[in-house]
Amino acid sequence: MATADSTLSNAPALLKTKEPSSLFKDAWRHLIQKRSAVVGMTILAILAVVAVLAPVIAPFDPEQQLIGKEDGIKKRSGPCIHMLGCPEEQPQHIFGVDANFRDFFSRVLYGARLSLVVGFASVTIAIVTGTILGSLAGFLGGWVDNLIMRLMDVLLAFPALILAIAIVTVLGPGLINALIAISIVTIPAYARVIRSSVLTVKEQDYVLAGRSIGVPQFRILTRDVLPNAITPLIVQGTLGIGTAIVEVAALSFLGLGAQPPTPEWGLMISAERNQIFTAPYLVLIPGICIALVVLGFNLLGDGLQDALNPRLNRR
């Protein structure tokens, strides 16, 4: 009897239809179920907080030389944390002091800010340019398509870092130029993604319908075609930010990116790399920071790839 009752009372629940949910709501639900993606998001959230609050957290100005400002400060002195037993009479420098008597902890904090800005900026430039080129190529077809895509093929023929080096050598070293160079070398990836999406969507009936009632081309492109191409862009862009951060750091390491005294992680490593045996913390701390940021973006990107793929995960 009890079983019959419960079956009956369950019946309406079984008949209830699933609540409608959007792609992004679904994706979010899948994303937070994936442990690696959550780890990635946590790393990035901490980093974002550090970057935003850098002026509040940092005990010193990252570019200020403390010689003469502080008693007994020593060049490249090791980390001193009062809570971990460093004598109170010594000034506290959590990550030590660099070769120019600057507080290394403050520099590392500001470095987070710079890395995130550089990563987002270069990927944004690349996505915008890539979207314009890719949608023109896909939408117009013909010789425009041929010209643009052959150009992209040529750019792809160079290993990214090598072409970026060549471009910065021409433009002249500097953080902005490094950022532009990294954007240029990553454009083809986005242009290709957009072009192939545009080609698929262009043939759909609703686009044809729009065309037949006289909707302007540009409006079709922006309202119907591009929104459908956005999912692969999100994945590519997330993974791209990590890559862009490493490559800008590599350019700075080679002396082509940020210039002293900018607190940029790659530059900080490059400045102290010969001190790896005497003051390893000055090299390894920014190194670990870069690796963590990249790991964060990679984990999040991989998670998004699965979460945004409608063919997977639909149960």
Binding site: R150, V154, A157, P159, I165, I269, F277, P280, G287, V294
Partner: protein
């Protein structure tokens, strides 16, 4: 088959022309006066006029491009480095061996361990060993080459100093250990300055090859020890990528029916996974290995700088520091062309491995 190779080769031609155009354009886009960019700010007007005239920089751009094409394609001339006062081609030939040895050592390291990790991970799918390997792979892809290089130096040359795991932090070979070129060991008399001498010199610059064929085991072992850290630094990212690709490709193959058939007819498990599974799962891995070889050349710039190996990468780094545009231009060209050729070879080998491609 021949048709496929011909078609694929034809496709590479426009890209190669594009590469030539880009490297040509790079040198013309240098802001300001090309003469002072190359010769320095203190060059006088007369010197600059002579320089512009000698390098054909007063000609119209299309003519300059034609001259550049002829220079590269017919004379194999990449221009002259103002810093060394020598043809760029000579410098590249002289320093290529170190980079090639580094790239191949790294590739062997990455492929060997990448496939092992991938197979282990796929076979014990979702076990703790799989999770650990894939976490390691995620971490491996995220550590930049130059950070890893410095970290390895710190660990193996300082922390593990005086243990049997200690490895030298820099250089190609210990200069104290004699490493005479093989042609001298064999008592050949070769006149200096001849093409033959240049060629033998080039071969003997491959330290592994030279020490091996002269049975100079002490030097060979020393060269191996010097190569381990740089090869691991460059090879780690490809290793992680290869492990991931091998894992997903093998997982897919192992779920197919013919694997069940192989098991059902009582084959040993090793035979099923290795012969039936892996040999069919390796196709995507081959593509990735080929693609990574190009990126290894990029990684070599950072690694050679850190480990003080005088290969192409270190040369490029020095050229950047001293604004030697001609070397940067020549190097970019050589790397891009080899990248395209490697991809071409990969595509062709793919056709040999997979009949479906050459038949389509």
């Amino acid at each position: 088959m021949g048709q496929y190779i011909a078609r694929r080769t034809m496709l590479a031609v426009p890209v190669l022309i594009g590469i030539l155009f880009v490297t040509f354009a790079l040198a013309r886009l240098i802001p300001g006066d090309p003469c002072r960019a190359v010769l320095g700010e203190r060059a006088t007007d007369e010197i600059c006029d002579a320089f512009m005239e000698r390098n054909g920089l007063n000609e119209p751009i299309p003519v300059q491009f034609g001259v550049y094409l002829k220079q590269i394609l017919i004379d194999f001339d990449l221009g002259e480095s103002f810093r060394f006062g020598r043809p760029v081609m000579d410098i590249i030939v002289e320093r290529l061996p170190v980079t090639v040895e580094l790239a191949f050592s790294a590739m062997i390291f990455a492929t060997f361990f990448g496939i092992i990790f991938g197979v282990v991970s796929a076979y014990w799918h979702n076990s703790s060993i799989d999770v650990a390997t894939m976490m390691g792979a995620n971490l491996g892809v995220s550590v930049p080459v130059f950070v890893l290089g410095l970290l390895l130096q710190y660990v193996f040359a300082l922390l593990l100093k005086d243990t049997f795991l200690a490895l030298p932090p820099s250089g190609r070979i210990n200069p104290v250990i004699p490493n005479p070129p093989f042609y001298e060991v064999w008592g050949w008399t070769v006149e200096e300055g001849t093409g033959w001498h240049t060629f033998l010199e080039f071969l003997s610059n491959f330290v592994f090859f030279n020490t091996f064929i002269t049975f100079n085991w002490e030097a060979f072992w020393d060269a191996v020890q010097h190569m381990i850290l740089p090869a691991v630094a460059v090879g780690t990212i490809p290793l992680a990528i290869i492990a991931r690709i091998t894992r997903s490709s093998l997982l897919e193959v192992l779920s197919l029916d013919y694997i069940r058939t192989a098991r059902a007819k009582g084959l040993a498990e090793v035979g099923v996974v290795m012969r039936h599974g892996l040999s069919n799962a390796l196709l995507p891995v081959v593509t990735i290995v080929g693609l990574q070889l190009g990126f290894l050349l990029a990684g070599a710039i950072l690694t050679e700088t850190i480990f003080n190996l005088t290969g192409l990468g270190k040369t490029l780094f020095d050229a950047i520091t001293s604004r030697d545009y001609i070397i940067v231009q020549g190097f970019t060209l050589i790397v891009a062309v080899s990248f395209v050729l490697i991809n071409l070879l990969v595509d062709i080998s793919y056709a040999f491995l997979d009949p479906r491609i050459r038949l389509s």
